[in-house]
C-alpha cells in the first residue's frame, strides 16, 4: 500500500511537470522602459536604437510639408491641448510603466495614459471580415504562441505614427513578437509594420522592457482639457 502511494506520488509529479512545461510563459506584471544606450531622453533612445522607416516618396514629401508647417509655427496636431486619445503603440514608448494581464483566452495590455487598453484575443478567433471590421485606436489583435514567443497580428487601426517616422493607416498590419529575456526579468517586443500605402519595405524595430519591482501599482494619468494650463501647452497657432 505504502509502496503504491509512493509510486503514485512520483508519477503525479512527472505528470504535473509535463503539464507545467506546456504552460505558456507568464508575461503578466508591470513593464517599464529604461535608458540602456545613453540616449538621455526617450526620444534620444529612439534615435539610437530605432531605424528610420523606409517610406514611399509621396509619404516622405507629405512629412516634409508637415515639418515645414511646424517650423513656421503652425500646429499640426492638437492632441495634448484637447486630451485626445493616443493610439497604439504610443504607450509602448511612454515613460510610464504598463502592465500585462494574461489568461488563456485573452491578453490585455493596460497602461496609464489617455488611451484604450489593448485586447489580444487568444481564443483562436480570426479577424473580422474587412467590411465588418470596426477601425479602432488599438486595432483588432489576435495572438498565438510559437514556442515561448507570443505572436500578435493586428489590423484595423484608425491611424497614427510609429517610432522611426513610420505611419499607421486603415490598411496597416502590425506583427509583434513578445518574448521574455534574462529569466523573465526583461521583455522583448519586436514590432514589424507593413502597409503598401506607406512603406517601401517592412518597418521593424525592437523595444525591451524591464519587469517592475514587486508591489508596483498603477497610477492614473489625468488630463483636463478645460484647464488653461493644459491648453497652454499648445501655443496659439497662426493658422485658422
Amino acid at each position: 500500500m505504502k509502496k503504491q502511494f509512493l509510486l503514485a506520488l512520483v508519477l503525479a509529479g512527472l505528470v504535473n511537470t509535463k503539464i507545467n512545461a506546456q504552460k505558456a510563459p507568464d508575461l503578466s506584471g508591470y513593464w517599464e522602459r529604461r535608458d540602456d544606450v545613453g540616449g538621455g531622453s526617450f526620444g534620444g533612445i529612439f534615435d539610437k536604437i530605432i531605424p528610420k522607416a523606409e517610406l514611399k516618396p509621396e509619404v516622405r514629401e507629405e512629412n516634409r510639408r508637415n515639418a515645414a508647417r511646424q517650423a513656421a509655427g503652425d500646429v499640426v496636431g492638437f492632441g495634448s491641448k484637447w486630451c485626445l486619445s493616443s493610439s497604439y503603440p504610443f504607450f509602448m514608448q511612454h515613460s510610464a510603466a504598463w502592465s500585462i494581464a494574461q489568461t488563456d483566452n485573452e491578453i490585455v495590455q493596460v497602461h496609464e495614459t489617455h488611451s484604450f487598453p489593448r485586447h489580444i484575443y487568444m481564443d483562436g478567433r480570426k479577424h473580422p471580415e474587412p467590411a465588418l471590421l470596426n477601425p479602432s485606436s488599438t486595432g483588432h489583435a489576435i495572438g498565438h504562441w510559437e514556442g515561448d514567443a507570443l505572436v500578435v497580428d493586428t489590423v484595423g487601426f484608425i491611424g497614427g505614427g510609429t517610432p522611426g517616422g513610420g505611419k499607421i493607416g486603415p490598411g496597416t498590419r502590425l506583427t509583434e513578437r513578445f518574448h521574455l529575456l534574462d529569466g523573465g526579468k526583461k521583455l522583448s517586443v519586436t514590432f514589424t509594420w507593413t502597409d503598401p500605402a506607406f512603406y517601401v519595405k517592412p518597418h521593424t524595430y525592437e523595444l525591451q522592457y524591464y519587469r517592475s519591482e514587486p508591489g508596483t501599482y498603477a497610477f492614473e494619468e489625468y488630463c483636463h482639457a478645460d484647464d488653461p494650463k493644459q491648453s497652454g501647452s499648445v501655443v496659439a497657432p497662426p493658422q485658422k
Binding site: 509510486l7 484637447w82 490585455v108 484604450f116
Partner: protein, 224 residues
C-alpha cells in the same frame, strides 16, 4: 487499482484546493441587472445633490477620467483574472484608467504616498468562492454619483463581493459604500452581470472635448 486511485487523488488535489473561480471574460448589464435601494444620506449629502449633478456633467463634457462606480455600469466590462493569481484587471469600453485589483497579498498603499484616483487603491482576496475587494484612496475626479444616491469622496470606502451565480452565466457584484460624509449608514446594492456571448469584443467609445456639436448637445437646452 489502489495505484490509480492514489494517482487520481494526487493530481486532482491541487485543482480542488488551489483553484479559485474564474471570473474572466466579458460581462454586460441588462434591464433586470440592478437591485439598487435608495441610500440613507447625511443631511449635508442631500443638500449638495444639484452641485453633484453639475460636477458629473462637467466631467462628461470635458472627457475627464470617469472612475468607479460609474464605469462598473458601462458594459461590457472585461475581467482579466491573471493566471498568476496576483491581480484581477477590469477594463471598460471608455477611454481612461482600468481597474487593478491586487490579489498578491499586499496591503493598501500608504495613504501618505498614494495619489488619490478615480478608481482608488484596490486589494482583493478570496473568501471561498467569493472575491472580496477593498478599495480606498478615491479622488473626486470624474463622475462621482453612486447608484441609489450619494457620491464618491476622498473618504469613501468601498467593499465589493464578486461571485459567480447561475452556473457561471451570471456574475453578482455586491457593492457597499461607507463614508460618514455621505451616508448615515453603509449603502449596499447589487449588480448581476450576464456573461457576454462568446466572441464578444472590446469596444472603444472615445471622447472628444473639442467637438463643439457634442458640447452644445450636452450643455444646451434639450431639443434645440
Amino acid at each position: 487499482m489502489n495505484l490509480i486511485k492514489h494517482l487520481v487523488l494526487l493530481l486532482a488535489a491541487p485543482l480542488v484546493f488551489a483553484q479559485t473561480p474564474n471570473l474572466s471574460g466579458f460581462w454586460e448589464l441588462r434591464f433586470d441587472s440592478r437591485n439598487v435601494p435608495e441610500a440613507s444620506l447625511t443631511l449635508d449629502a442631500t443638500k449638495i445633490a444639484r452641485e453633484q449633478r453639475a460636477h458629473d456633467a462637467h466631467a462628461i463634457r470635458w472627457c475627464y477620467n470617469l472612475g468607479v462606480p460609474f464605469l462598473m455600469a458601462q458594459t461590457p466590462i472585461d475581467i482579466i483574472q491573471n493566471a498568476s493569481g496576483k491581480e484581477v484587471a477590469i477594463t471598460f469600453p471608455y477611454r481612461g484608467p482600468s481597474r487593478h485589483i491586487y490579489t498578491d497579498g499586499r496591503k493598501h498603499v500608504n495613504p501618505d504616498v498614494f495619489d488619490p484616483s478615480s478608481s482608488g487603491d484596490s486589494i482583493g482576496h478570496w473568501e471561498g468562492e467569493t472575491l472580496v475587494v477593498d478599495t480606498i484612496g478615491f479622488s473626486d475626479e470624474g463622475v462621482i454619483s453612486i447608484p441609489g444616491g450619494g457620491r464618491r469622496t476622498v473618504t469613501s470606502h468601498l467593499m465589493e463581493r464578486y461571485r459567480l451565480v447561475k452556473n457561471g452565466q451570471q456574475l453578482s457584484v455586491t457593492s457597499t459604500w461607507d463614508d460618514a460624509q455621505t451616508f448615515s449608514k453603509p449603502h449596499t446594492y447589487e449588480f448581476r452581470y450576464y456573461r457576454a456571448p462568446k466572441g464578444t469584443e472590446a469596444r472603444e467609445y472615445d471622447c472628444n472635448a473639442s467637438d463643439e456639436e457634442r458640447a452644445k448637445f450636452l450643455t444646451g437646452t434639450p431639443g434645440l
